[in-house]
């Protein structure tokens, strides 16, 4: 009832500024709450749908065969749905691209924020962010027609469409995200910390390594985890550049088929309601769980390294 009190204010004294403002405030508050609720409901809806469409597979297909099976023959009758090569493919390409993208993303962020002249920063940062705006299908195409033939001839690989090729393209995709968010984190470190460090006689290098970066580590950790979560969920690039062989990678030049590539390639032709259809949704659940874990880890890092006082981000 109390929430609707402003109504009476309006009807009784339409010129009552105070009630009017209160009413507006409440309205804005509620509509904002509602918009926040929409995304929450959408997420809940998607998760429920994912599980409803994915779980029926396990009514007659064992979880062990699904997770540890090494063969994927979904169109056969009965179908064979082993996703171990798909999971290892996804993990391999994500880890390899992270190994490359973390230094390539974090180091420029440190340079831009701590060392570069403010003009340099003002020019370079928008360009790095622009790289993040490139559609993944464009990068995927470049990986397919430019990078893959190069890898093929430069390393004498059987095929350029392989783990390394996909990881390199994913690196290009995730570096701008990692760099931009890390840079924001470093930027948020208060100057008083730098000044204090320098005043105590520390060199610029010591200040960066022992004061600024540790103070921003929660933000940098978040940046890395978000980058990895983008890499594991990325579809177009792995569909076009990874080769698509359903085998467990044993070298950098093995063609692989990460989980999103399987879903994208097969969903359109999988008969509605078949085991194959449910299996693709089950892969979707696995993928969701992976990105969920990455996000939780990011959250934990942020919470653990959150410093109290002015340095918190």
């Amino acid at each position: 009832m109390g929430a609707f009190a402003p109504w009476s204010g309006i009807t009784l004294f339409s010129g009552n500024l105070m009630s009017n403002r209160l009413f507006k405030e409440k309205m804005v508050e509620r509509s904002l709450f509602f918009t926040a609720l929409i995304s929450l409901l959408a997420l809940a809806g998607i998760v429920i749908f994912l599980f409803m469409e994915g779980m029926p597979l396990f009514a007659h297909y064992s979880l062990t065969d699904f997770f540890f099976g090494e063969l994927w023959y979904p169109a056969e009758d009965p179908g064979v749905f082993g996703i171990l090569p798909l999971i290892t493919g996804s993990l391999a390409v994500t880890l390899l691209s992270s190994v490359l993208a973390i230094p390539l993303g974090v180091l420029p962020a440190i340079y831009l924020n701590e060392i570069a002249h403010s003009n340099t920063r003002r020019i370079l940062k928008p360009f790095i962010e622009l790289l993040a705006a490139l559609p993944s299908v464009v990068l995927g195409f470049l990986g397919m027609v430019v990078l893959a033939p190069f890898i093929q001839s430069a390393f004498g690989a059987d095929t350029g469409l392989n783990l390394l090729n996909a990881a390199l393209v994913l690196t290009v995709m995730t570096v701008p995200n990692i760099c931009s968010i890390s840079e924001d984190a470093l930027h948020a470190v208060p100057n008083s910390l730098r000044e204090g460090s320098l005043a105590l006689g520390a060199t610029k290098w010591q200040t960066i390594v022992r004061v600024v970066v540790p103070a921003a580590v929660s933000g940098i950790g978040t940046a890395i985890m978000l980058g990895m979560s983008r890499a594991i969920g990325e579809t177009m690039v792995v569909l076009m550049c990874a080769g698509g062989a359903g085998i467990i990678p044993d070298s950098l030049f093995t063609p692989i088929r990460p989980m999103p590539a399987s879903i994208a390639a097969e969903m359109a032709e999988a008969p509605f309601g078949s085991d194959h259809y449910h299996a693709l949704f089950a892969i979707g659940i696995v993928l969701f769980v992976f990105t969920f874990i990455f996000n939780i880890v990011a959250y934990r890092i942020a919470a653990k390294h959150r410093q109290v006082g002015t340095s918190s981000l």
Binding site: P85, G244, P271
Partner: protein
Amino acid sequence: MSLGKVLGVAVLGSALLAPLSPATTQAASQVVINGSTTVLPVVQKASESFMAAHPNVALSISGGGSGNGIKALIEGQCDIAMSSRLIADKEVKAAAAKKVNPVSTAIAFDAIVPVVHTTNPVKAMTSAQLRDIYAGKIKNWKEVGGKDAKIVVISRATSSGTFECWNELIMHKTRVMPAALMQASNGAVVQAVAKNPNAIGYIGLGYLDKTVHGMTVDGVQATPENAVTRKWPISRELLLYTNGQPQGNVKMFMDYMLDPTKGQKDVLAAGYVPMPVKK
């Protein structure tokens, strides 16, 4: 369940609209077509000129795969199902249970051609060799008369119509090895083979261009003529399934599709082989 809901809404919608339609100038009657993405480009192309000639018939076309199309026909959700394979026994039983009588009409031939890099000295193969390569038994080009190099095997997604056809006519249900590269489209296979001297792939005859070399199989050249006479070992018919013999608007579209001066021209334009002209 969700489909049922959609259907319910559609039925409700048409029930609401029904009293209104006589008011509009002769309501367009709708023909719903669903199914194979292999057949889709042909039907899509033909439908455009068909609808221009018959403005009172609206064709609604979507591609969800041969299986989906046949399922929709059985469920009464479409009038014509496009299919790149013959209806399966399971589906015939499901149709009988719903009192649906699927009748097929062939509208074109699709021929699948194994392709290699233009510099590859191997220009001919037997279907047995092709099968052994895809099964992973033959791993090196020198085993089939080429240079000493590992064969890079390129295949299609296991649920595509092209794969199905290859699986049936070449593999004879032997499994394609897991190490085969999977590409999502004919175009991607052409790209991958054109960029790799040691690759072998297979594509629809209509996608064959100068960037790759189409091999002869069992001594037969992949040509439209050989596809129609079934001399070419890897050819299949593209089919339209209807419930019973086509009637009314559905028959009108079928006749249009098979007309050598109309629909069959679109067949050629889409890269498939037209039906032989009956004499």
